[in-house]
């Protein structure tokens, strides 16, 4: 029982750290590159505009997709590692 509980705590910690890093990237590409940091990226030109515009209208969406699938795949491995996956 205690072992289960410890595994549960470690599992939750692993999950939280994965979520944290994913959300850092999530915020960086949208609020960062797409909005607030756009002036810093204005030197990088792409098709008549700059990289920040591309992130705001295209790039952030692609990154969101990669993030969700990476999270789902990684969590399934973590579920198994801590023995909490669905049988």
């Amino acid at each position: 029982m205690d072992n289960d509980k410890e595994a549960g705590i470690a599992y939750w910690k692993a999950n939280l750290s994965l979520v944290k890093w994913s959300l850092v990237i999530w915020a960086l590409v949208s609020f960062g590159f797409g909005i607030v940091l756009r002036p810093l990226l204005s030197g990088i030109k792409i098709g008549g505009t700059d990289l920040g515009f591309w992130f705001a209208q295209q790039g952030s969406i692609y990154v969101f997709l990669i993030l969700i699938f990476f999270y789902a795949w990684r969590m399934n491995t973590i579920d198994k590692k801590y023995g909490v996956d669905e049988e």
């Binding site: 999950n15 994913s22 098709g47 515009f53 295209q58 969101f64 997709l65 999270y71 789902a72």
Partner: protein, 591 residues
Amino acid sequence: MDLQTITYIIVGGTFALYIGIAIWARASTTGEFYAAGRGVHPVTNGMATAADWMSAASFISMAGLIAFVGYDNSTFLMGWTGGYVLLAMLLAPYLRKFGKFTVPEFIGDRFYSPTARLVAVICLIVASLTYVIGQMTGVGVAFSRFLNVRADVGLYIGAAIVFAYAVLGGMKGITYTQVAQYVVLILAYTIPAVFISLQLTGVALPQIGLFSSTVADGVPLLTKLNQVIGDLGFATYTGHHTNTLNMVLFTMSLMIGTAGLPHVIIRFFTVPRVADARWSAGWALVFIAILYTVAPAVGAMARLNLVDTIQTGEVGSPDGNLAYDDRPNWFKNWETTGLLKFEDKNGDGRIQYYNDKSADFNTKAEGFGWKGNELTVNQDILVLANPEIARLPNWVIALVAAGGLAAALSTAAGLLLAISSAVSHDLIKGAYNPNISEKGELLAARIAMAVSIGVATYLGLNPPGFAAQTVALAFGLAAASIFPALMMGIFVKRINNKGAVAGMLSGLIFTLVYIFWYKGWLFFPGTNFAPDTAEYWVFGISPLSIGTVGAILNFAVAYFVSNATEAPPQEIQDLVESIRIPRGAGAAQSH
């Protein structure tokens, strides 16, 4: 065959398909009515979620809003996709593990309080009703063009059809119907975009065409667009012209609103396993991203085509503007709906379309003998008018009409279901009469649907904004009330009943009051306390963005109230432990 006949055939054919599926899969028990018996594959579920999600706001309205504003409205694109990341990581798997049918059930159990459940129901109804008002605006636009009638007549007819349609089936009907709707609407959105991208840039993929050079003169499309609209006094398309704080808060509000809207969350109750809930969110975003990455190209290209149609020659030359008598057919059709208006202010029989709010350009315009902008385009018509403006074949135009109707109908039906289950399952069965029969519950659900569609139709006649803007208000309300309660319910064990109730109420009331202050009380026109323009907004935060502030308030109030009062009982802490771990997720249970 003429356009109207082809349109009737294509729209009629797609409708027969949806209704056929709905009848074939008619719901028989209440369990099926709400959650389709939990046997839906993640890819199917993702596709249905995408159809449910991409409403009139995404399909009809969003690209138009981007077209007329440019970069500053990228908020819609990031906001309405980024929310799925939050949904996949912070809510969906845990709520699936919890294994109940509705969002208020989770809140009621986690915060061990019927009051919390009741407050959640109220938040849900307020957000969903606002959402339906936005949908009805879109339904009105789509039906008025389709039937060649005025916008308000289109709205009445559309409302009647939405109602008949939602009453017919429950979620099961809706899940498989929505897969069909997704296919129709995504084809309807992307096919014209591919055509137009080819015409303008020679590149088939609109996502790449947007950043390519034009066939006509080899200049990048966006550079050309900036120049063409700049010549008419409009602000640049790619430039950042609004308050950065407001832009950040608006994007955030749409994101957390996405993760807090009950009709989306309820989708993740219908997958077989916790792992599937994670994949489902990803698949939903795949299907949504197809439309969302095409939308900015649709916007930019439509704007360019519109200006090119009206401004046929040099700006300021006597015959540089389209003569009203030579106006194309689409122009006449949209005039019938009342959503496109021309007023010949300088009496020259030609259409002048320019930015008469720009003082600099006005001096120039006076020199040309122009007496003000003569063309008023409702931004919600742009996507539907787009293929006609680009002179695409009739079958493409008809397909777009079918797609617009599918988008408007599917989401309106999904929302009505969320509202009706909140009323019958959570309000009546959960709080008022626990012994109600299954039949009685279904009847109550249908009465709730009828009432909500009546209210939404009435308010949809004078909507608080364009379809996508009204919908954005609904997201703000969900963001401020439901999302924080769900997230803290899972991630913070210490939050108790008192904290959750106080948090939800303060988030909801604060956000509602701020919105009504500028948009009118209960959205009745003319009852607002201050004009809805940037100079009157507090710190430049628009009513569309205020949901983020409401959510922060909700988090803070819940946290402090919980810490000042007693800890939740042991069995609730155990419940939180158990929903954090996938193992042991069984089938859902009703109370």
